[in-house]
Subunit: 221 residues, 2 copies
C-alpha cells in the first residue's frame, strides 16, 4: 500500500516567522522549522502558502498507517506500507513496528524522522530515504497489479476487487494522502484506475476497504 | 455499533493533585478535574488508579468513531454508533455529524460534552445521557441480532458474518473499547459471541471489519 502525495512536511520557510507558528513552537518547546506542519494548529499561517487549504495533514498519514498496519491482512504479513509526500520524501515502515497510537506522539516521531533520517537510529523501524518521485518509485516496485484509487475513476465493488490469485501476486495499491482534490501526478498507463464510492472517501476508509477484503482472501487459503 | 466499557472519563478525583496532572492542566489552561484522562499524558499518575494500565484511552474512542462513521455503510445511512464508558456514561452521536479528525480537538469536544451534556447546545450532535449500564441499554435496543465481539469467543470469518437479510434487520454489534483484557460484564444470553482473530484486534480494526462487510451487502441491494 502506498500513500501517495501525502500532506506531510515540516513547516515551510515562508511561514516559520508567522505569529501562529512562533506561538505553537514556543508552546511545545520546539524549533519552528523542525515542527510538522499541522492544519489544526497552523491554519491562519497556512493561508499564505500555495495549496494552503490541503496541506499540513499528518493526521491522515497516522490514520492510514493505523488502519493498514493493524489490519488482519497485516497481521498475516500480507501488507507492506510506504508513504510518499508532496515533497517526494519516501518513508518506509518496518511491518513489525507497533505504531504509536497517540497522535501527538506520532507527530513527534515524524519530526525526529525528518531530522535524523531513521528512528530509532540503531534498528530503524521508520526510514526516510532520499527524494523519490512517485512514478519512478512505483515503477521500481515491479507490481503484478497496480491499482490506483481515484474518485474520478470507474466505480468498482470493493468486494470484487481482489481474486484468490492476488495472494500470490505482487499487488500495489496507491491511495491519495490529501484531504480533497486530485492527484498532481497522473496514473501510470499500466494502472487500473478504480473508485469505490461516488464521492471522496477518507484515506483510512479506502485503506480499510482494501485491507479487509484482501485479508478475507487469506481466510480461505 | 456500540463501543462498550470504553476507557473514556475525566481525571478521577484521586489523582487531580498529582504533579503530572497539575502540570498537564497548567500547560493546557484547563481545570484538572474537567480534563479527559489520557494515558499518554497521565501515565505516571495513573499507576495509583485501580485498572490504571487500561484506563484513559480517548484515542481508541476517536479511532473507533472515525472508522465507523466514515465507512461506506455509514454513508449509506446504515450505521448508528453509541459509546458506553467504564462509568456507564452513554454518548450518542448524530450520524450526520462530520467528526473532528484532529485528536487534540476531539478531546476538547469530549471535555465540553462531559461538562455540558450536549455539544453544540442548540442542535446537539453529541449528547451524553444519564447513566446507562450496558446490559439494560442493549436490552432496550431490541435487536434482531446481537453480536458480541470477544477474543475468547468461537472464531468466525468476518466475510461470512452478515447475510443479505441483515440489511433489513436491526443488527447490534458490541465492541470492547479498552486496550486489552476482558469485558467486565458478561455477554447477554441472547448474544452471538464472535471472535475474528486468534489474538486481540484493535478496536478500530474490528469496526473496519464489521462496517466494510456490512457495507458490501449494500452493493448488491
Amino acid at each position: 500500500l502506498v500513500l501517495a502525495e501525502s500532506e506531510l512536511e515540516t513547516v515551510p520557510r515562508e511561514i516559520t516567522g508567522h505569529r501562529q507558528v512562533v506561538a505553537s513552537a514556543r508552546r511545545s518547546g520546539k524549533n519552528a522549522s523542525r515542527m510538522i506542519l499541522d492544519a489544526s494548529q497552523h491554519h491562519a499561517a497556512m493561508r499564505r502558502l500555495p495549496d494552503g487549504a490541503r496541506r499540513g495533514r499528518p493526521d491522515l498519514v497516522h490514520l492510514f498507517l493505523l488502519t493498514a498496519m493493524e489490519s488482519r491482512a497485516a497481521k498475516r504479513g500480507q501488507v507492506r506500507v510506504a508513504v510518499h509526500t508532496r515533497n517526494d520524501d519516501w518513508i518506509e515502515i518496518d511491518p513489525t513496528t507497533r505504531l504509536i497510537r497517540n497522535y501527538v506522539r506520532f507527530c513527534g516521531l515524524i519530526e525526529k524522522l525528518f531530522e535524523t533520517g531513521a528512528v530509532p537510529a540503531e534498528t530503524p523501524l521508520l526510514t526516510r530515504t532520499a527524494k523519490r518521485p512517485l512514478l519512478p518509485a512505483l515503477d521500481a516496485m515491479e507490481a503484478d497489479r497496480l491499482i490506483w484509487l481515484d474518485e474520478t475513476a470507474p466505480r468498482r465493488r470493493p468486494a470484487e476487487l481482489f481474486a484468490k490469485d492476488d495472494l500470490d501476486r505482487h499487488v500495489v495499491a496507491v491511495i491519495g494522502g490529501f484531504p480533497h482534490g486530485q492527484f498532481q501526478t497522473g496514473a501510470p498507463k499500466t494502472a487500473e484506475r478504480v473508485s469505490l464510492w461516488a464521492e471522496t472517501l477518507p484515506t483510512w476508509t479506502v485503506a480499510a476497504e482494501l485491507t479487509v477484503h484482501y485479508g478475507a482472501l487469506g481466510d480461505d487459503a
